[in-house]
């Protein structure tokens, strides 16, 4: 492939050209799905692939499940408690799919929907932002606390300011991580909870001031958590002030302009091994904390890939396909594909095979992560 040199600008190549060795696969191309393909709305909030291979999509106009290449609508007419589906999680032990909406929780089981609201169950609040499964319990992040549903007994327990260290009960994300949970608290940073021991630990932004970040890498970049992800022992925090990573002993933080992070406004983060897939309002970023691959669509509709690696000039590549929209709400990734919930359509991203010895899901075999230069 021929490279293109823009006059006075960065080097632009096609996406297939060779680049630096990467600790994660690059996206080769995108396919887009919208109303024409059977999705109920174009604003996509969340997406997940269940263990049976079915793809579940939450939109602002209901949910959809993709089977045999076709989307089937699950709407309020079918019993969904509200049209705006904010989050999805599969209960792998039972094969149920849980859907969190702007007005209540829904269990989709064997084609039937059961709803839970704050007036007919132990749900803390009807507005649900996040869901997580831990063994036989479902954890629900709501606008008024963290709810826990014992799936074997159907009993609820609420975790809020009364029985945890959280100062105020606004909970916006929850992620199971082996024997513990990480809970994103609005203004309260991240709570680390060991259910077996009943121990809560707070992770807070040390400088405590919202209008600046005093020093980098000193803790969560902000106390206002928008989402959290965890895999391979690494916790990622997305915020509207940047991105944070915690490996159990050390924090790293990234902000726009100070790093390759394309925007401080980070809606979502998905962890796959040591790699984060970061959904911002300016496109998708994929990083292990050292090397970055940023995907965005230009104003002209062209897909662009920007690769930033320590000690190398930033490399820009033109793609043959593009994200349907740069505003990304949700992400699901495995070794072969990624699904991206955007504000204007669902994107299916096809991944190239990684070209290094490291592979996703195996933190130990990936190269060391040199610190990125601060400027």
């Amino acid at each position: 492939m021929l490279g293109l040199q823009l006059a006075g600008g960065p080097r632009v190549r096609s996406a297939e050209t060779a680049g630096p060795d990467l600790p994660f696969p690059l996206i080769e191309r995108f396919e887009t799905y919208g109303a024409a393909e059977g999705l109920p709305g174009h604003k996509i909030q969340c997406v997940t692939r269940a263990s049976d291979g079915r793809l579940w999509v939450g939109t602002y106009e209901g949910a959809a499940v993709r089977e045999n290449g076709r989307f089937h609508l699950i709407s309020t007419n079918a019993g969904l408690s509200h049209r705006m589906v904010m989050c999805l999680v599969e209960d792998p032990r039972r094969g149920d799919l849980w859907l969190g909406t702007m007005r209540g929780l829904n269990r989709y089981s064997a084609g039937r929907i059961t709803t839970y609201t704050q007036t007919d169950s132990g749900l803390p609040n009807n507005v649900i932002y996040g869901l997580a499964i831990m063994n036989d319990s479902l954890w629900v992040a709501t606008a008024a606390g963290l709810g826990m549903l014992e799936l074997k007994t159907g009993s609820w327990k609420i975790y809020d300011h009364n029985n945890t260290v959280m100062h105020e009960p606004w909970v916006y994300a929850v992620k199971s991580a082996g024997d513990r949970l990480f809970v994103g608290v609005w203004g309260g940073g991240i709570l680390e909870f060991e259910p077996a021991n009943g121990i809560f630990k707070e992770h807070r932004d040390p400088d405590r001031d919202m209008h600046f970040d005093l020093t980098p890498d000193d803790g969560p970049v902000s106390d206002v958590t928008s989402w959290i992800a965890w895999d391979a022992g690494i916790l990622w925090q997305s915020t509207y002030f940047g991105l944070s990573r915690y490996d159990g002993s050390r924090w790293r933080t990234w902000q726009e302009k100070k790093s390759p992070l394309p925007s401080n406004f980070v809606n979502f983060v998905w962890a796959r091994g040591p790699v984060a897939w970061v959904g911002t309002d300016r496109g998708l970023a994929v990083t292990d904390g050292s090397i970055w691959a940023n995907y965005r669509t230009t104003d002209q509709g062209t897909g662009m890939l920007e690769i930033a690696a320590p000690g190398r000039p930033v490399e820009n590549r033109r793609m043959t396909t593009a994200l349907p929209n740069n505003f990304i709400h949700g992400i699901w990734v495995d070794d072969h594909e990624a699904w991206l919930a955007t504000a204007d359509g669902l994107a299916h991203a096809f991944l190239a095979a990684p070209r290094t010895a490291g592979k996703a899901g195996d933190a130990k075999t990936n190269p060391a992560t040199p610190s990125f230069g601060r400027n």
Binding site: Q45, H82, M84, M86, M102, R103, Q118, P124, N125, N126, V127, T142, A143, A144, G145, D160, H161, V165, H167, E168, P169, W170, W186, G187, G189, F200, K201, E202, H203, R204, P206, D207, R208, D209, M210, H211, F212, D213, L214, T215, P216, D218, G219, V224, T239, Y240, F241, G242, Q255, K258, S263, N264, F265, D281, R282, N325, N326, F327, A343, D344
Partner: protein, 463 residues
Amino acid sequence: MTRLVKPPERMKKPFLIFAALWLAAAVGWCDGYPEKLDSNTNHLLEPILPAGAGANLLVEGDYPYYGNVPVEMRPYRNIVPHFRYWLTRLPFRGPGRDYPDPPGLSSLKIGLLSPPNYGTEAKRGELSRQGVQLAIEEANAARRPGELPFELVERADSPQWGSAANIAVDFADANVLAFIGTIDGDATHVALRVALKTETFIVNCSDPDPSLTETQIPWLLRNFPDNRQHGYLLARLIVEERGLTNIVVLRANNRPGRMGVRPFVDAVRRLGHPVLQEINFKEGERTFETSITVLKQAQPDAIVLWGNPAETGLVAAQLRSAGVKAALFGFDRLVDPEFVRLAGLAAEGVTAAFFFDPERTDPVWLGFVARYEKRFGQRPEHYAAYGYDGTKMLLAAIRKVGPNRYRIHDAMTSIDEYQGVSGYMRFDGRWDNIAPIVYAQYLGGKWHYLPAPPAKSTQAARN
């Protein structure tokens, strides 16, 4: 007269602060959302710089930095932080501006989230609602042929945490183009998080919580000068104008009290005079003997009150009965007939930060007063004025760009200045009104409104 703090007294400060915190814990942890000691111990302790210590004056950006905080009250003012936020306004980068207008509209719906119609905020909520209502009635009366009328969709919050989230969803289901509300900081916070997801703009005309706009959600404009403006002004009046340095805070043990005094407490610390005690009282408390006993140990020369008149009026009276002669200061809620009634003689000399001079005689204000009095049979005050102005701003934006939530967002977030019945407004990088406020002094049985003095020691952060 400036009173210098001698070294031995300085050494007492850590003990007094500890005692105040212990007292707060002992008497105050009974309310719905109590304060907790922080279990996280990795936070930084901001150094207390000596008064007059140098500052990094230059802050790049498009707007006055963080509420136009005076240079000498900036945190870590002698350090360049790793990253500063709100130097430019955060855009909304999602789609929507080109969406077609909703079909079949018969009205342009505006939501109004009010406090519960009972409890401590009910009266203020009703005054704000009347301001909103008057603006909508006037706009509908003035509409031209072909223009749709505005329709107010009203919902009252409940004291239950998260209630406002459910109401914000109701507004989305009702297809409101934007909504207005509310006084409670927590309710507005909760609603704002939903508004980010439903992509519905909020105009706030009554919440003084400084942290409301610190969540980096570009879907809210606040025309109500928040407690940062009040706190900075009080710090200047107390420390710079009157030279008072032994400062004690007595405040309500609730979220508004905790968040409300924070800018003041930070400001005087950064001026070199940390608050000696921060003592809490509960809503509904009637006797403050224990708190006053502890407070007297600090020998304060200035006491700052934050709370509702039902408590602060009694606090003022009991302070004077206990022989405390310190000058009394406070926030806007002292400027209330109930405070004066309960404080009695103790009201004399009280100084409070306030929004604007309600005794102005300019035609804009007098015209509003006349129309409001005619419509509601009572004289308007600041909640009504800001409610009226905020609604007028929103309605003008809708008339200009049509019934599209994203274009309404863009119209509202492009506002830099506004001249309303409440006065001149200037909006910063977070869409907070940072126009200068005034202060009120109760002298001779009457509140007197005075312009804020210019900063004495240094110039303001940016013009």
